[in-house]
């Protein structure tokens, strides 16, 4: 059977040494070399392209023309596109990187840039667009949403292609004048680490014609030859003028084809506008775009070898869609085509690529070809060669289904093709899977291994990494392949020759060896030696080992690392053992390669780090032991069920399956149709990730409640109750009499949730009560969890049963009172010791039972709303925060809209109550005049509404029916607008500003981590001067924006700047005042973050030092004070008593610069001190400023 098609490695004429990079780096290398201006903005999964470009620019690396590109972070992708547009207009060679919502924000400018025929390239790591839910993973929703803008669209299907097509795009845009979107699959390609042959600058140079650059410059705006662009046109001419550019689009496919020819000549890698591979007389063909092309190709190759007449047509140039090239690439023998779309366009005849292909076939006179559309791979859903085979089978059916989905079970619309069977990968490919913790360096070590093998052998390599949804205790799964040919398998490993478990604790949580092949090798990082380990394995793991004849090895990575002086850093040990066992390299060679990789990776960090890692390498193989496997399963333990027994139906049916890591098998019918999920589910996810948990000593406790306040995970709780309630308490449950007046006569318990605690130790750090006899012993102390688990589990269960203290009787305006309230935000998956979550939890305690939250995209939306569970909880009456996330950029407006709706509903309800007052009698007056300023008032109004509902049932009036649907609006409902500094200071500032000016009753909580935390620590306008951050690697040269002062300028906005660790009472006061204030309230909360480079256990100390240095002055600006003749601004901080330098020295974000570039750091630190002095001086004056009342009592 003749096989047509192009193998990229067919002509090996180029001798450039191969490198191992991911898709982002592969693309960014080219973009950097061929650009002068790069306006960027972080967004997953494209952020690394911008970060790399910025880092290269910081390191003074140059483009093809010897200049360092200007890499500029903007406030949003819209801003990046605007800046790019401007740079292009002024004659620079420009590029940018983005994905998903970011690309959507660029669309208006893309129309403009294309309409003006301006060459540029937008490199896109294709990602799902948020619909019913956000997803950071891959599909083509974003690029398909931009296909109409007039840009050319060039798709790369692999890491090598991301490099090659980047060059093709840059070359072709200059030649065609049509701007290009160069895209590749997010994560699958952008984050896959693979072997590529890089194109050197000399070769790139041959693709770029200086005359074309000159022409681009000549077209630029220049007062020496003035011209006008961006006119407003009218019905008489717009249409014709729009058509004037058409010849450029007509020429583009030919231009791209020519560049591809040139590339083939220069590199030996041959690509076409439409890449066909398969039987030359194929009858059935799959048309596909992106990484799935490689997957389909694997199926095609095998089927063709088996004599089947099939083929795959990979679409490379999607826009302009060249009919000529399409027709030429498709064998004449083809009778049926399946078009694969990685996006869903609801309501369309078919998804976009399907429609294009269907129309193209008609246009090329092949209307008789059967075409079906298959949707696959949304949000990185797995797509495997077996699925490709299934699609070919469908094409062979007498009547193929016209539209279907694959990779899911659609039991609602019945769209899905059923897939059975497994794909057996060729024996020539070595496959390895590694399970690690996010914090244990497993992923980093595996990337390193891939590089070692990719650069030290002639093997091709592939590394792909899967993460879970939590940032604390997150599991990572690394999938590594090594083989003699280029690896195009864009799917996870199903059968591995090597499985490594880097954390012993995983064994009880997941079926570790389910993907182990027969005869595989299993490496376990185990504190137990070869003689003791067997009985510690769950039965499932033992069963696999026996049934699959698995070679089982153990190594005590933690001990060996500690002995090498690298406590906790197990990655080097495990990596060495992998090389020792896998045999991908001869042992000695592998050891040398690991050591030289260590030298490369850690060389900058000094000899000590190198020597200790070398010692770990040497110790690793010495400590590796094979386990003699018994003949029978002996274990009495099994893998833990993902959720406890007796959980709500949805949790059992859906959440539990997700928690078990088996969400893929849930059918469509399992899901809500509109993305609505129940809250109060994190309580079912007993992750039990802490090694040590805080244990209470009531003898010493002074009832200050600080531990409960600061706990980022609501895993330390305080409950106050009548002593009689706990008479039947189980053994080990601790209680004590309350000491102060707040809860006179009551008892109190400080209780840890042992399976929910992450072990961050922030609670212990803030505990002020020390033993008189042994000072290190506090009222709570971190102790080994295993010693206390049974007792604390029973105690916590009992604790939950104790009724909550009556809210109406609590003074919620102080720390103790606030912590006697039930947290309605608990057990989030935020980083252990998170600086944001204590504020969110406090808000939930104070107001959660009456709050709607508008949450900006970012950390708080991820720990707040990332499946499988949500930390937002409910109280005994079922009330709790209702939560939604719209976008990153619109959160203030989103919350504002909620307020408008609530106000509208309240107004209508009041009107209806008034209209129905004859029937309602005194109740109507009470409802309308209700004072809901405090908990008691709100509770009374709730009672009245309940009474109203009963009364309304007996009133036969359409108004009563309407009021029934609106009655709840008579009870006070808060809107909290929550988000990070990236939202508030940058991308959402315009909207925030508008909402600040609205005068409506809104509460805005800015969790200020001073960087884009969720995307890994990029600088925002909240980043302080002198701090290093991504995009500010040389230290941020400008000062932090004073958002609070900007808000104060309106005069009627309540503004508080708080830091929990600095003044806990002030924080609680600020929250209660903000909520009570009837206009807009803004709380800017200092939120330490792992991106600050601090030990998160001590985050509260950092907050204290931040305030004491004047770096983070605490204040409250209360416009209502003006009516009492007082100044609005009240400083809650004292005059700075330590220098900024003293504070800065304790945080790596500042200290790193002092290390790397001491002189520059010194300069920036001095300037930062000036910022502080200057601001303090200003605030001190502001304290005395009297304003006339812009504030007016807002009608409630």
């Amino acid at each position: 059977m003749p096989v047509l098609g192009h193998h990229p490695r067919r002509m090996s004429i180029h001798t450039t040494p191969r490198i191992v990079v991911d898709g982002n780096e592969a693309a960014a290398k080219v973009a950097f070399a061929l650009s002068e201006v790069m306006a960027i903005y972080p967004i997953t999964p494209a952020s690394p392209m911008g970060e790399l470009a910025d880092a290269w620019a910081q390191a003074n690396q140059t483009n093809l023309w010897g200049s360092v590109p200007d890499v500029i972070e903007m406030q949003s992708e819209a801003g990046a596109a605007g800046a790019l547009h401007g740079a292009l207009q002024a004659g620079a060679l420009g590029a940018t990187f983005t994905a998903s919502q970011g690309l959507l924000l660029m669309i208006p400018n893309m129309y403009k840039i294309a309409g003006e025929l301006t060459p540029t390239v937008i490199h896109v790591a294709a990602r799902t667009v948020a619909t019913h839910a956000l997803s950071i993973f891959c599909d083509h929703g974003d690029v398909m949403a931009a296909r109409q803008t007039g840009t050319a669209m060039l798709c790369a299907n692999s890491v090598q292609e991301a490099h090659d097509m980047a060059l093709v795009a840059h070359a072709a845009t200059l030649r065609s004048r049509v701007p290009f979107v160069h895209f590749f699959d997010g994560f699958r390609t952008s984050h896959e680490v693979a072997t590529i042959e890089p194109i050197d600058h000399h070769t790139m140079r041959q693709f770029i014609d200086d005359d074309l650059i000159a022409a681009h410059r000549l077209r630029s705006l220049d007062p020496n030859r003035p011209a006008l662009r961006g006119t407003a046109q009218n019905p008489d001419v717009f249409f014709q003028a729009r058509e004037a550019a058409e010849p450029y689009y007509a020429a583009t496919p030919g231009i791209v084809a020519a560049v591809l020819d040139q590339l083939a000549e220069a590199t030996g890698r041959r690509y076409e506008l439409f890449d066909y591979r398969g039987a030359s007389d194929a009858e059935r063909v799959i048309v596909v775009m992106g990484s799935a092309t490689g997957t389909v190709t694997e199926a095609v190759d095998r089927m063709v070898a088996a004599g089947e007449k099939v083929g795959v047509l990979g679409v490379r140039l999607f826009r302009p869609f060249s009919l000529e090239h399409f027709a030429a690439a498709l064998p004449d023998t083809v009778t049926s085509i399946a078009v694969l779309d990685r996006t869903k366009e609801p309501g369309a005849v078919g998804d976009p690529l399907y429609l294009d292909v269907a129309a193209a076939l008609r246009e090329v006179g092949r209307s008789d070809t059967e075409v079906i559309g298959v949707r696959y791979g949304l949000s990185s859903k797995e797509f495997t060669p077996v699925m490709a085979e299934r699609i070919f089978a469908e094409l062979a059916a007498p009547v193929p289904r016209r539209h279907s989905t694959i990779g899911i079970v659609d039991d609602v619309s019945g769209s899905s093709l059923d897939v059975t069977g497994a794909w057996k990968e060729p024996d020539s490919i070595v496959r390895a899977i590694f399970y690690g913790l996010g914090s244990d360096g497993t992923v980093g070590a595996n990337k390193n291994s891939v590089k070692i093998i990719g650069t030290n052998t002639d093997r091709y390599v592939q590394g792909y990494f899967v993460y879970d949804s939590k940032k604390s205790g997150a599991m990572t799964v690394s999938h590594l392949r090594f083989g003699p040919d280029e690896i195009r398998s864009a799917y996870l490993i199903d059968e591995a020759d090597f499985v490594a478990c880097h954390q012993f604790g995983f064994l009880e949580k997941l079926d570790m060896l389910q993907h182990a092949a027969h005869g595989a090798t299993f490496l376990l990082n185990s504190p137990y030696g070869p003689d003791d380990v067997w009985d510690r394995l769950p039965a499932e793991t033992q069963r696999h080992i026996i049934d699959k004849s698995i070679d089982f090895y153990v190594v005590d990575g933690h001990r060996i690392a500690a002995e090498a002086g690298l406590k906790g850093r197990i990655n080097t040990v495990l990596q060495t053992c992998f090389f020792g066992l896998s045999g991908v390299l001869p042992r000695e060679e592998a050891i040398d390669a690991i050591k030289s990789a260590i030298a490369k990776a850690y060389g900058k960090l000094g000899d000590v780090v190198l020597e200790r890692n070398y010692a770990a390498v040497d110790g690793a193989l010495a400590g590796l032991r094979q386990v003699t496997v018994p003949a029978a399963v002996t274990s009495a333990t099994s893998i833990r069920p993902p959720v406890p027994a007796h959980v709500p139906d949805f949790v059992e049916r859906v959440t539990g399956v997700l928690l078990a890591g088996e969400g893929d098998r849930l059918p469509v019918s399992a899901f809500p149709v509109d993305g609505t999920f129940p809250t109060a589910t994190s309580m079912f996810e007993k992750r039990s990730i802490a090694q040590e948990i805080p244990i209470w000593d009531p003898e010493i406790c002074i009832d200050c409640a600080r531990c409960a306040l600061v706990c980022p995970h609501a895993a330390i709780r305080m409950k106050v109750y009548d002593p009689s309630i706990v008479e039947d308490a189980p053994d080990g449950f601790l209680t004590k009499a309350w000491k102060g007046k707040d809860f006179d006569g009551m008892n109190v318990t400080i209780q840890v949730a042992p399976d929910d605690c992450t072990g961050c130790a922030v609670c212990v750090d803030v505990c002020p009560a020390k033993s008189k006899e042994v000072v290190k012993h506090k009222a709570i102390n971190m102790q080994p969890k295993d010693d206390h688990l049974a007792v604390e589990r029973a105690s916590f269960d009992y604790f939950l049963e104790i009724p909550e203290y009556d809210r109406r009787l609590i003074n919620i305006g102080n720390v103790k009172g606030s912590q006697a309230l039930q947290p309605l935000f608990e057990f989030s998956g935020a980083c252990s010791g998170c600086g944001e979550t204590p504020y969110v939890k406090l808000m939930s305690q104070l107001f959660g039972d009456r709050t709607i939250i508008a949450n900006a995209t970012g950390c708080s939306s991820i720990y707040g709303g990332n499946l499988p569970t949500t930390p937002y909880a409910v109280d005994a009456s079922g009330r709790g925060p209702a939560w939604s996330n719209s976008l990153f950029e619109d959160n203030a407006e989103f919350g504002f809209g909620m307020r408008l709706a609530l106000d509208q509903k309240t107004e209508t309800a009041l009107q209806l109550v008034a209209d129905l007052s004859p029937q309602l009698g005194a109740l109507a007056d009470e409802l309308m005049a209700a004072d809901q300023a405090d908990e008691a008032g709100i509770a009374k109004q709730r009672d009245r509404v309940e009474q109203l509902e009963t009364t309304l049932a007996g009133i036969d009036d359409p108004k009563a029916r309407r009021l029934e649907t609106l009655a709840d609006a008579l009870v006070k409902t808060d809107v909290w607008i929550v988000g990070g500094d990236g939202w508030a200071y940058d991308i959402g500032f315009g909207g925030l500003d508008h909402v600040l000016a609205s005068g409506r009753n809104l509460n805005i909580l800015v969790l200020d981590t001073e960087v884009y935390s969720n995307t890994g620590g990029q600088a925002s306008k909240a980043t302080p001067r002198a701090a290093v951050a991504k995009f500010a690697a040389g230290g941020k040269p400008t000062s932090k924006k004073d958002l609070g002062m900007i808000a104060q300028a309106y005069g009627d906005v309540y503004v508080a700047q708080v830091a929990m660790g600095a003044n806990m009472t002030q924080v609680v006061k600020a929250f209660t005042e903000a909520e009570a204030y009837p206009g807009v309230s803004l709380i800017i909360a200092f939120s330490p973050c792992i991106a600050h480079g601090i030990d998160m256990a001590t985050q509260m100390q950092h907050q204290k030092a931040a305030a004491e240095s004047g770096y983070w002055p605490l204040y409250r600006y209360d416009p209502s004070a003006v009516t009492e003749g007082k100044p609005a601004l009240h400083l809650d901080s004292r005059k700075p008593k330590i220098t900024f330098k003293e504070f800065a020295a304790t945080e790596a974000r500042f200290a790193m610069l002092a290390r790397s570039n001491p002189e520059h750091a010194e300069e920036l630190l001095a300037q930062a001190q000036q910022d502080i002095d200057n601001r303090w001086h200003l605030y001190e004056q502001m304290v005395h400023v009297e304003r006339s009342a812009v504030y007016a009592e807002v009608e409630e």
Binding site: N24, T44, L566, G1016, I1090, M1152
Partner: protein, 336 residues
Amino acid sequence: MTVDLSTNYLGLQLANPIVPSASPLTGNIDTLLELAEAGASAVVLPSLFEEQIVHDALAVADLADFGADLSPEFFGGQLPEMDSYNTGSEAYLRTLVRAKEELSIPVIGSLNGDSPGGWVSYGRKIEEAGADALELNIYIVAADMDRTGAEVVDDYLRLVEQMRGTISIPLAVKVGPFFSSMANMARRLVDAGADGLVLFNRFYQPDIDLDALDVTPNLVLSTPFAMRLPLTWIGILYGRLDVSLAATSGVHSAEDVVKLVLAGADVTMSASALLRHGPAHLGVMLQGLEDWLTERDYVSVEQAKGSLSQQSSPDPTAFERANYMRSLVTYASSRS
């Protein structure tokens, strides 16, 4: 006739016996120049502190990939990669090279190590960077109840031997006074390869913060009284060992310098007084030394050196245990 202030220390011919010891003042080029200007005959750079280097390197290594794989949205560590981290001895060696370039007086490197490997490699680097001599700063808090004094002493000697075998520049050894037999220890240090003894080092010692109920180790500046201990031992050792003797701790005034020289010090090293009064104070001390010698018609420092050592003192027992009793008697009699 002007008095000859020169002295020989570690085989280095120095213009006078006043040398600023390791302190923040000697870690900065500007203050080093001020010290030289004030008349310092040599300088001892601050100690390259191996424990600190190791701590920093490991901390930076942790930070470099801190939080790297906690989320698929993170790329690399939380902090950007820096051009360099200066975790090793580079910054120290740069200062040393610069000091050699800028100063015409000898520059003595100083090393405080805690591992054999570290000693050797850093000692070699300091030599290669151009130091005129190396001062080895050893201080072992022997808190381990399972280790005998002899074993601890062996640790000291092994470290000195290793360093002696590594470098060819002169080697001074700075130790504390807490040995059962200081005199024997001194001889064994010399036998192990020390060209000079620097007596004595002072280290962080814990204090208690009564507000925070916390133990806070720190170093307080020395008082003039602290020079009595080096004075005692320099007096005892002078003339009995073929070794240079440097007095350090409590050298605050010209009088202190004179006393130590009379006891037998080749050089006197000052830090606290210079930190308290500024680098120019060295000039005051130097002038005071010269004045004292001139007024009493000494022709040189060498002439005065050791003239009141135990060997040359009219009352050798004054340096030993009897001294304690005598002084009490004297004190008692002066009151009566």
